[in-house]
């Protein structure tokens, strides 16, 4: 046993963990698609297909309007990223720590523990990316007026997508390692729902200007930067935050939540 074969083993072992998750995901691919697709599907259907057709008869329709879909597209992508990150890491991790201890075998593989946690976050990020991309064809086919993304900068798009997905995975890691399985439902009500509704998903951040206090308060919400970042990348014609501010904030949240999640993870697997 030489120390020199360390890096090779690291890569192979990490790949092994990814392959395992991939196998489980492909086996449950249809449920996965339904899980990540249902929310944006119904949202688009109700707000951009049904409501516009109601015309003036329904007061809600005025709120929707013809180009609501364009505002909604990046927001729904952000929500898809967020939900998928939590479903991919927080829920299984919480169960694996709490009841089944299945995580044991992966924790006992020849990798540093931080790498096992990192694999969880990376694989979750992959699912988030799939979930977000899934929203794009939906936004094209469902609304009364098709929403066509205009990607101004592919680089920015890829960067925001990657950072946003890693952020969601890190948040999943924090929740999964800190919350016991009995209370995981509660987390959805008190964390996930508020952060999405106040995450500039259904309205651009700039439009909050008339409620200055709220506009500032929502800045602590990481989803804001995902929505705004995707807005900047996918529908740049809508008002959005400057790209550099978005990237700085995303990086900050990825680092902070990543560290917190790792600490929680270590606390659970090491006594």
């Amino acid at each position: 046993m030489s120390m020199a074969d360390g890096p090779g083993m690291f890569v192979k072992s990490f790949a092994g963990l990814l392959l395992r998750d991939l196998r489980v995901l492909t086996r449950e691919f249809l449920p996965f698609l339904l899980r990540v697709g249902m929310q944006p599907l119904l949202f688009l259907f109700v707000f951009t297909f049904i409501l516009p057709r109601m015309g003036g008869a329904n007061p809600m329709a005025a709120g929707g309007g013809m180009n609501f879909g364009t505002i909604l597209l990046p927001g729904l992508m952000a929500v898809a990223i967020m939900f998928s990150g939590i479903a991919a890491v927080a829920l299984p991790l919480s169960a694996e720590f709490g009841i089944t201890r299945e995580i044991d075998d992966r924790v006992m593989c020849p990798l540093p523990l931080w790498a096992v946690a990192l694999e969880k976050v990376c694989f979750s990020a992959l699912q988030s990316v799939i979930a977000a991309l899934l929203v794009i064809p939906m936004a094209y086919f469902i609304p009364a007026v098709p929403v066509r993304p205009h990607v101004g900068s592919w680089f920015l798009f890829a960067l925001v997508l990657a950072l946003g997905s890693l952020l969601a995975g890190s948040l999943g890691l924090v929740i999964g390692s800190k919350v016991n399985p009995k209370q995981i439902g509660l987390v959805f009500s008190i964390i996930v729902v508020p952060v999405t509704f106040l995450g500039c998903v259904y309205y651009p951040w700039a439009y909050l200007g008339k409620m200055r206090w709220l506009q500032i308060a929502v800045l602590i919400n990481p989803i804001v930067y995902m929505s705004e970042g995707l807005r900047a990348a996918v529908t740049p014609e809508i008002a959005h935050m400057p790209w550099w501010a978005i990237l700085v904030a995303l990086l900050f949240f990825v680092t902070a939540l990543g560290r917190l999640g790792l600490k929680g993870f270590l606390g659970r697997v090491l006594s």
Partner: protein
């Protein structure tokens, strides 16, 4: 060659209550031996194993597996470690076959070698017919077998079994013992914890009797029984302790009685031979209101009683 070296190991849990789980344990395991940690629940066996398998950090002391310090290089040490934990930790999302296959992948096996290795293990552990079942569909004994197969899949130097027969029916326990003996023949070193003395007696080459986080005695089962007097232990439950001293003195006067003492329930008599002693004891204790009498044949159980003054299973 020393495979496991445990040196002045301690683990103290500092919470509301200060618990000294491991209190200065020293152990050395030779290549190829089956070593048992025997002791009651809460003696510190599982904590010792957790530290040795990189899952718990020691308060002080060191553990080296195949020469690698488990605290300084946990990832490297894990390559030499196979673990069968107390609970079923099989991956519920994977089949039996996949549990073995992906375990191999975690340890750097290529697709081909992982495939071949899991096939080999399925045959060795008579699991081929159940390879496509999920862990939730397996009985306790079968799940345990898969766990052992998985633990040795990456060909570890040492296999840790934590209470391997807890919760197993007698048949599965025998099957598990056979599996461990089979591994022994292949030259793998085994460290197991148990509070079943039959298991320790039958399976282990050497034993450490542990209580309150300390090693009380160390050696082969035969040596332990010899050193600590393979004795028959008579445990008497008595109505009263009045006049017990004279009874104890009377019994102690007999050559084969090596010890007699009062216990909270009554009296305990230890003897090296039993011929004619039973009627004598019954007679002697009759005046004290003999309610119950338990006889433990010479075994590790009696060694344990000798060492700690209490029974292994209480």
């Amino acid at each position: 060659m020393l495979i496991v070296e445990i040196e002045s190991l301690t683990k103290i849990y500092e919470s509301k209550l200060r618990v000294v789980a491991v209190d200065g344990i020293d152990l050395e395991l030779e290549q190829g031996e089956i070593f048992g940690l025997l002791g009651p629940n809460g003696a510190g066996k599982t904590t010792t194993i957790s530290i040795a398998t990189t899952r718990t950090l020691p308060t002080s002391g060191t553990v080296r597996i195949a020469g690698i310090d488990v605290v300084k290089h946990p990832a490297q040490a894990r390559r030499h470690i196979g673990v069968v934990p107390q609970f079923n930790t099989l991956d519920r999302s994977l089949t039996v076959d996949e549990n073995l296959y992906f375990h191999c992948r975690y340890f750097g096996f290529s697709h081909g070698t992982a495939k071949a290795r899991s096939l080999e293990l399925l045959e060795q552990f008579l699991l081929s017919e159940r390879k496509d079942m999920y862990p939730a569909q397996l009985s306790g004994g079968l799940a345990q077998r898969v766990q052992i197969a998985r633990a040795i899949a990456h060909r570890p130097t040492v296999l840790f079994l934590d209470e391997p027969s807890a919760g197993l029916d007698p048949q599965s326990r025998m099957a598990m013992w056979k599996a461990v003996e089979g591994l022994h023949k292949e030259g793998i070193t085994v460290l197991l914890t148990t509070h079943y003395m039959e298991e320790a007696d039958q399976l282990c080459d050497r034993l450490a009797i542990i209580d309150y986080g300390r090693v009380l005695a160390l050696g082969s089962p035969e040596k332990l029984k010899q050193t600590f007097g393979a004795q028959t232990v008579f445990d008497l439950t008595l109505k009263s302790h009045q006049g017990i001293e004279s009874v104890i003195a009377r019994l102690k006067a007999r050559a084969e009685v090596s010890g007699a003492e009062a216990t909270p329930e009554g009296m305990r008599v230890m003897a090296t031979a039993t011929d004619g002693l039973l009627p004598e004891i019954v007679q002697a204790a009759a005046g004290l209101g003999l309610k119950d009498l338990k006889i433990a044949e010479p075994s590790l159980e009696t060694v344990f009683i000798q060492l700690t003054g209490r029974e292994l299973r209480d």
